[in-house]
Structures are given as structure tokens and as C-alpha cells.
Symmetry: none
Subunit: 217 residues, 4 copies
DNA sequence: TATGAATGAGAATTCATTCAT
DNA sequence: TATGAATGAATTCTCATTCAT
């Protein structure tokens, strides 16, 4: 709401390219997460970033490329954290526990990630497909999960023949769906799903489910 | 007294309130599914329905209430099909198989349902919460799933202590996530996920997973 | 908000041409008074009249002619009441008192009349000019006011040379402006203008003003 | 360091926030005056202002706030002119003459003001009430009129006990009603009311009326 | 006389994006 | 690097009015 021309250009940001870009990215992340790609507003992103709208276009050509950048960052971030998880160091059952807990905790700590992916899928992964960077970020977890399964099988703890990709998707899905659809689910079931207790219950259900399947008696 | 000769109206749309409403709803369903609530265009819905744009507002006050109506219909539809599924008639293991297969098949046959739910969750179930129909939408499957689990436990086939709501959400999640996120997943994994073979593989993985967990050795 | 086609045509109005027309007119009067010509909605008028919108067009070609009809009625009504006022029967000073009080009371009892006139003037009396009926309704008060002034002058009670049309307009203006602009005036002056006391004060001020001018010492 | 050569921008509107806002305001004033709030068209305002429609929303959030701004300007303007009128400098009778003449002339010179107020009253002073400026809009004339009356009473020229607010409203009403309702009045009375002669006649009638009331014999 | 269904032309407002400095 | 001014193309929604029975 500009009302008067402020002749004194006083309050311009100290010039700092990196900082501006970071601010824009994080503002955009919030905005896209909250409203989806279509619902996000460039105006609001600028406001959130404390930056002139024009500057967004200066750094990120347009809305879609901004979204791509945000998406890349989101993937980079989760891949980075996934890398911390040293599944190969621990025994198979514990490794699976950790993987499930990590997935669950990450999604809870980063609800934006879920919304972002939903948006991207609504758009048929259009941005992802044209981003070489994001595509190179194949999850390191697949490899280590394969290793874990292998070790488990060899030590006769796990059942054989489990496809690590299927399992990875299943673990993600068990957590993702619950959190991403929490609003409709809790409305339909009339049940609080995000309190501390339900959260723990969900985590242990998921763990039981996966281990109950994997572990041989 | 005989009716007037029913002239078949040539170019103009036959006056039929019910039909118009149905056409609008089904056009809106497609549009919302394809573009989400925010991305949907009233113009396109009118065009898809072969109806004057104004007529949409005549029957459904505005975009949001149209979305609510679409959502209600979608829920009614899936609930109706769920009711067909007589899980109580078959033995527990078969019942679980059927439930998983039904969920999988329904989501594949009705991809709009997934997108619709994603949109609704992006909007924090705003429409669902204000829909009086929402109450009656509680899935009948929860009850019958509870019954199935019960029978399974009593006949010592299933493990005890499984929360039917958690299990229901898990089954849904296993199917939902795979299908709803298929674009990003197949891009990231560089793997076709929707061909006939991957579909069967996913279904059997889900079934193995759930039954592997439920069934006692 | 039609939602379903009511196959049973049950609740149609008993057919009564006069009554319908009257209902429409009075609904339109309210609507035009409340929102002005531009702000009035045919839908709301139909609703207010408890009549199908189409019926309005059946009786009154379109919005403007409906407005004209309403205006004509309003003029007829005030002229009718003015005729009741037998100024020639009472002595001049009392006659003036009565005229002022009548004007004041009529405007208070018929606030729609003021809004209607405002609308009509916004439209440069477009409707009035094409209504031969309304134009024939020259106020009877002008004649009797002329008579009153005449009698007053002859009996040396009133000053001479007063133009009855000017005086008539003045009396109307004193009341009209106060009432028609009551919202802005009371906002600006921070003063209640429509309570019982302010009303009496205004009436006596107007009377004092006019008689103070007319009556010779 | 010298400024860049100030190229006179050829076809495109010179960038000048203040000027644009002024142009919009004055175009809006005309439009609102001519058609009322409801009848005014944003398109036409843009055109009148020689400005892109979008710019109106850039500076004035929406139609109503634009109307509010116009109203505030109109009040500021009349208040400014009222302040020029130094009623305290001249003797009471002359002061009253000046006040009446000023009111009359101002309304004639600014017919938009009347229409604007009519619109605002149709909307129950909605805009005025939410304008913080409204407070400061109290007419300075009330104070000086009170002073004039006081002086007149003390020098035994004027009658006592006259409420300056009532008198102010009366003077305004005498002029306002005549001008604001000129279209219906001249149609009804079949009399030209705005020619040079009728104007003078009205002014002298108003002056006679008010002074005839105020001045003691 | 009476009504529900349907519409075209417009209305306000929104939004990503570009211009000029 | 940074910004305020400005815009064209939509987009939702409104409204008087007509169609068909």
C-alpha cells in the first residue's frame, strides 16, 4: 500500500547479494509451503523476504524458476540430512528403526517439504524434470537400505527378496500420508493426530509394521 | 390433456436442472483434480461442462462451494464403493487382501480423488470442516476392519493389539503416496512406476508388508 | 440458491394480479430507497416481494420503468397527503406552522421518499421527465401556500413580496437536508440528530426561522 | 555528479507518483459525482485519469477506499475555503450575508460535492465514519458563526437563543436542496431554476429569509 | 398469471511481470 | 545491487434480462 512517494530513499537494504538471495529463498519456501505453487504470491514472498519485488526477478527469473530453486534446496537439505544417517554402522534391526524414525522426524520438522512435493506432483514434476541438479540428488538411503537389507538377510534376521526401493517408498508413504493428509484425516476420524501421544503411537505403529514384516521369527 | 409436442430443442441446451448440475460437478471434478483448487478456472469448468459460466454460480454460489460439493461427491462415491466390500463375509487374511487391493484399485481408477484430497489438505480441510455431510463420511471400513482384526486375533491368525485406524491409514498411505507422488518418485528413481508390471509389484509388496506384519507364524 | 429441482410445483403464489403488482411495487420502493437506483437488485426485489423475478418483468418492463412506477407512486402518495392539509381553513400563522410540521413529519415517516428523489436527481430526473403522470402531479400546496401568504399580507400579518415557490422550496429544504444528510451531519458534528429531543428542536428551529422571517412585528 | 540527461519520455506516462495519484483522485471525483458510488466505473476512472486501471488499485486499495479518499479531499477542500472566510472581521449582518453567499457559490461551483454527499448518505456515512480524518473535518464555520451570532446579540442586532449548528444546517439546506434537487424541482414546477436570474433570486430569498429571522426590528 | 433455467455483457479485483532510475 | 511506478492479461463474480414451459 504505497501512499506517498518517499523522496528520501533512506531505508534501502544494505547491499548484500548472498543474504538477499537466501532471504528470498526462505521466504519463498514458506510461501510455497503454505499456499502451494499456484496459491503463492510474489508480492507476499517479497514482503516476507523484506525485499523489493523486483529483486526477486533479478535473482530468479520468474515464479517457476524460483519454485525450482526452492525445490532444489529442499532436496539438497533432506539429502544432506540423510547422509548423516549412518545406517551401515548399526545392526540391521536398529538401522531400520533409525530410518523410520528419521523419516518421521524429518517430515514433522519440515512440513514444507511435504507440501512442496505435493505441488510438484500436481505439476507432474515439471520443475524437477528440468533440474539437473535435483535429479542428481538420488537418495543415498536407497543404497544403504539395500545394504542393511542384505546384511539382515545374510544374518538370517530379515526375510529375503525385499526390494529396497519398494520398502523405501513404503516407509516414506506411511509417514507422509499421515502427516500430509492430517487435516482431512483428523476431520473425518474426529481424532487428534498431531499431539505428542498420537505421534508416538504412529511412530511405533509404523516401526512395528515394517519390522513385523521384515524380521523372521 | 396431452402435453405439448415436445420439440427437441435444436442448438440450445435442453433445460434440465439435474443434468446441468451433474455436468458442472463432473467438469469441476476433472478441473480441480487436474489443477488443484487454486489452479482451477471457472471458465474452463463451464466449457468442460458445456454450460454457461453464469450457470455455475446459479447452482453453486462460488468456487469454494463448488469445490465443497465436488469433495462431498468424491467422498460419497468412495464410501459407497467401500460399502460394497463385504469384508465380514470372508476369512481374515482374504479380507485384508481385498481391502488392500480395493484401496489400490480405487486410487488407480480415481486419481482425481488423490489430487482433491491434496488440495483440501493444502487448505487445511477448510471445506470439509464446514460440510455438514463430513460427519456422515466416516469410513465404514474402519468398523469392518476392526471386525476382521478381531476375528483374526480370536482365531490366532493375527497378532493382537493392532489399532484399526492406524492400520487403515497405513494401507491408504502405502497406496496413496506411491500414486500421488508418482511423478517425483519416478523422476528421482528413474524408474517407471505405473506400467502393468510395477503396479502388480507394488500391490504384492503392500500385501506382503501388511500381512507379513499381521499374520502370526 | 436453488439446489434441487423441485418437481412438485406446489408453492406457487395464488394468482392475483393486483396483489402481485402491489407487492412488487412496495418491495421495489424499499429496495430503491435502501440502495438507490444503481444499487438496487432485481433479485432482491423479487425476494422481498415473494415473487418470481420473471414476474417483475412481466408487469414492469425493466428496472427503469419499475423505478418510474415507484416514483410515480411516491409522488401520488405525498400529493394525496398534501391534499388533506386544509391550509385555507386556518389563519395564516397557523397555516405556516402546519405546513412546516407536515413537511417534517412526512419526511420522517417516509424516508424512502428522500432517497428516491436523490436517486432521481442523480439521474437528472430522467424518469420523471418521461412520466406524464408524475408531471401532472403538481403540488397542491403551492396554490394554497400562495393563498395563505396572500391572506397574511392582506391582514398585515406577513411581509409582502414572498414568492410561494421559493418559500415552499425553502421549507422543504430545511427539513430535507437535515434528514437526507443526517448520517454525514451527525458524524461530522458528533451529535445525535434523530432522537426525540433533537427532532423537536429542529422542528421548532425551522418554524421560528420561517415565521421569524414572514411575520411583521 | 550531474544528473543523467533527463530524457523527456515520449509516449509513455512520465513516472510521477504524486501526479498519478492526483490525476486518479480528480478523475474519481468527477466519476463519483456524475454517477454516484454504485454507478461509478473503475474503467472509466482509469480512462479519465489517463492511467492504467491497475494503477488505481496500486494506490487506492479498492473502490471504496478510493471513494473515501475522494470524500476526504472534498471535505478538505471546502474546509480550506471556509477558513478563508473571515467572518469575525466584519459586522454581524454582513457576516451572515457572506456566509450565505459563500455557501451558495461554493455549491454552485462544486456540484460534485453535493452528489458526493448524497452518495455518502445513501451509504450511511460508512466511509466518513471510518476515516480518521473525519474528526478534523468539523467545519470552522460553526465556531465563527457562533461568534457572529454572539456579537449580533450583544449589539442588539440579532435575536438571542439561536443555535449556530441549527442555523448552519439551515443555511446549507436552503442552498443544498435547491441545487441538489434542481432536476426534479424544475421538472415539477416547470420553471428554470439555474439561469442567472433565478440564481440571484434564490440567493436573495435565502438571505432575506435568514436575516428576516435573525435581525431584530 | 406464474416460474425455474439459462445467458451475455460487464464489473471489480488479482497477478506475474516489466519499465525507468 | 536495489527500488518504486506502471501494466496487460486474466479471473472471479455480478446483474439485468430472456427462454421455455
Amino acid at each position: 500500500m504505497p501512499k506517498k512517494t518517499s523522496r528520501t530513499p533512506a531505508e534501502t537494504r544494505p547491499r548484500n547479494a548472498d543474504r538477499s538471495q537466501r532471504d528470498i529463498l526462505s521466504a519463498a519456501l514458506q510461501e510455497f509451503a503454505e499456499f502451494g505453487l499456484g496459491g503463492a504470491r510474489m508480492d507476499r514472498i517479497a514482503e516476507r523476504a523484506g525485499v523489493n519485488k523486483r529483486l526477486i526477478y533479478y535473482y530468479f527469473e520468474h515464479k517457476d524458476s524460483l519454485f525450482t530453486a526452492v525445490l532444489e534446496h529442499a532436496y539438497e537439505n533432506i539429502r544432506g540430512e540423510e547422509r548423516q544417517l549412518n545406517l551401515s554402522q548399526v545392526e540391521p534391526i536398529e538401522a531400520i528403526r533409525r530410518l523410520i524414525a528419521f523419516t518421521w522426524d524429518y517430515y514433522i520438522a519440515h512440513p514444507e517439504f511435504l507440501t512442496l512435493l505435493n505441488s510438484e506432483n500436481l505439476h507432474r514434476a515439471r520443475h524437477l524434470k528440468q533440474s539437473s541438479k535435483a535429479q542428481s540428488l538420488n537418495s543415498p538411503l536407497i543404497e544403504s537400505l539395500a545394504g542393511v537389507l542384505d546384511r539382515g538377510v545374510r544374518s538370517s534376521v530379515f526375510r529375503a527378496g525385499v526390494d529396497p526401493v519398494q520398502l523405501y517408498i513404503s516407509i516414506a508413504g506411511l509417514a507422509y500420508f499421515y502427516l500430509s493428509n492430517v487435516h482431512t484425516l483428523s476431520t473425518i476420524f474426529g481424532r487428534e493426530l498431531l499431539g505428542p501421544k498420537p505421534r508416538l503411537e504412529r511412530l511405533s505403529h509404523m516401526t512395528d509394521l515394517v519390522l513385523g514384516y521384515l524380521v523372521r521369527e
